[in-house]
């Protein structure tokens, strides 16, 4: 590969403005991405510089062809926005073209009710973490990692493994062709898993149960019944947490209310996904 004539010379310093540019362009991934996200939260100069690049790059979006989204997207947005408010949303929030807000179930979405399910025989209290999406969780983690006053930052040489261990695992489990999906985030340091089923609604007849497919081929492990419309946090027992890793699969099965009955086979797999490390 021939070097471009105009692009040789000393390696430029990868200073903060450079990292901010890399972040703004979207070049970063993995640990570097996580570090940049954290720095935006904790370093005002870096945040300013990121915004500076964003503002300069933004006009390039004018060269991206505009497209009309499907008509149901607004319905879904309105449903989510107004679903988050209690009744009495008649405060001027109107829908376009006579589409109903909030009332009707999402077409094709499966049901589930607000139940607590045993994970492998152990009753486990799912804690509410209302309003937190998995993406937000990843950001929160980044903030925790980099927040002033948290654990003292180790010498540069020893920093990498520490961060790598904290990298969240993220999986998206698309539900058929409904356009809906589960967002699953596992945060190793906390041993907590967030399961987000925003946009899903319950049908009152079925529950859906999430399962981990261990890479070693051993039996599926239940991660519990999914709670539609909510993001929930669950602490994982060690025998499940130890099977989590990059590329590990998840499947979602349709079950009677309450989840798979003991002694019976699991219901049909309706969706699947896999973890990847952020």
């Amino acid at each position: 590969m021939s070097d471009p004539k105009n692009n040789t010379g000393p390696e430029p310093t990868r200073d903060d403005p450079m990292i901010a540019a890399e972040y703004a362009l979207g070049l970063l991934e993995g640990e570097e991405l996580l570090q940049a996200r954290g720095k935006v939260s904790s370093d005002a100069d870096f945040a300013w510089r990121k915004e500076w690049w964003d503002n300069w790059f933004a006009p390039l979006t004018d060269d991206m062809a505009g497209m009309e989204p499907g008509g149901d997207v607004w319905t879904r947005i309105a449903q989510e926005v107004h679903g988050g408010q209690n009744s009495g949303t008649a405060t001027g929030g109107t829908a376009t073209g006579g589409t109903a807000i909030g009332g009707t179930a999402i077409g094709g979405a499966e049901i589930i009710d607000l139940r607590v399910k045993q994970a492998e025989g152990r009753m486990r209290r799912w804690q509410w973490t209302a309003g937190i999406t998995s993406a937000a969780a990843a950001l929160m983690l980044a903030v925790l990692v980099f927040a002033p006053g948290s654990e003292p930052v180790a010498a540069p040489g020893t920093q990498a493994p520490q961060l790598a261990a904290a990298d969240p695992l993220v999986a998206q489990v698309p539900i058929g062709d409904t356009g809906l999906r589960l967002d699953v985030t596992y945060i190793p340091e906390s041993e907590k898993m967030l399961v987000g089923a925003i946009g899903l609604t319950a049908d009152g007849v079925h529950d859906h149960e999430l399962w981990l497919v261990p890479a070693d081929g051993s039996d599926l492990q239940s991660l519990g019944v999914v709670v539609p419309g909510e993001v929930r946090s669950v602490e994982l027992p060690d025998n499940i947490a130890s099977n989590l890793g990059n590329g590990v699969s998840l499947v979602l099965t349709r079950e009677p209310i309450g989840g798979k009955p003991d002694g019976e086979d699991a219901g049909p797999v309706v969706a699947e996904g896999a973890f990847s490390q952020v």
Binding site: N7, P12, E22, L25, W52, L60, T61, D62, V73, V170
Partner: protein, 199 residues
């Protein structure tokens, strides 16, 4: 700030921008009707951005939904004194789409770079909300000052959401080489853009 000393845009574009800015302020105050106004004014542009990055209509629609729901939840993040609303929204949408690309299994890494379908850059916009014309001219001028390869890689990152690793693979060069090329380009770009602000 990146806003030029005198934003020389058409009166119609300015009016559209001011309407949008006002709607964003109302949204931050909790007026949910403002969200629909913002959606109507910006969905075509923002969906185009999501689709361009994600390359999949379904994913792009999910991303679009995510963008507006997030906007509603955290409308206070927008500072009307600091950025043009459409510029801010476009950046927000692209960032959300990139996040999705990095954490999901959409196109990132799944489809070889050379198979990715390039889209025309000049299809008409259905709305008149363009980002500030002066900024647009300046970033294009500064990009034009880079050598063609580097410019192409930087555009690949911006328009297709490619990472260093994907760009290196597509160009068949070592990762370190690609990083050096792009970093030199970004350094030149910064010097050029800062010079334009100083003048």
């Amino acid at each position: 700030m990146a806003d030029g000393p005198a934003s020389s845009s058409s009166p119609a574009a300015n009016a559209a921008r001011e309407r949008l800015r006002a709607a964003m302020v109302r949204l931050a105050d909790g007026d949910s009707a403002a969200l629909e106004e913002i959606y109507d004014a910006t969905r075509v542009k923002l969906f185009g951005i999501c689709f361009r990055i994600l390359g999949d209509r379904k994913e792009a629609e999910d991303a679009l939904q995510d963008v507006y729901v997030n906007l509603w939840q955290r409308a206070d993040r927008y500072d009307p004194d600091r950025a043009s609303p459409i510029s801010w929204l476009a950046t927000f949408a692209r960032n959300r789409a990139i996040d999705r690309l990095r954490t999901g299994k959409v196109r990132g890494g799944a489809v070889p770079v050379e198979e990715a379908n390039p889209l025309p850059d000049s299809a008409p916009l259905a709305d008149s909300l363009l980002v500030d014309a002066e900024n647009a001219a300046q970033i294009h001028t500064c990009l034009a000052g880079l050598d063609e390869n580097t410019r192409g890689h930087i555009r690949g990152a911006f328009f297709e959401g490619y990472t260093y690793a994907q760009l290196a693979e597509a160009a068949d060069v070592p990762l370190g080489t690609m990083k050096s090329w792009i970093r030199r380009g970004l350094q030149k770009l910064r010097v050029c853009l800062e010079a334009s602000e100083a003048s």
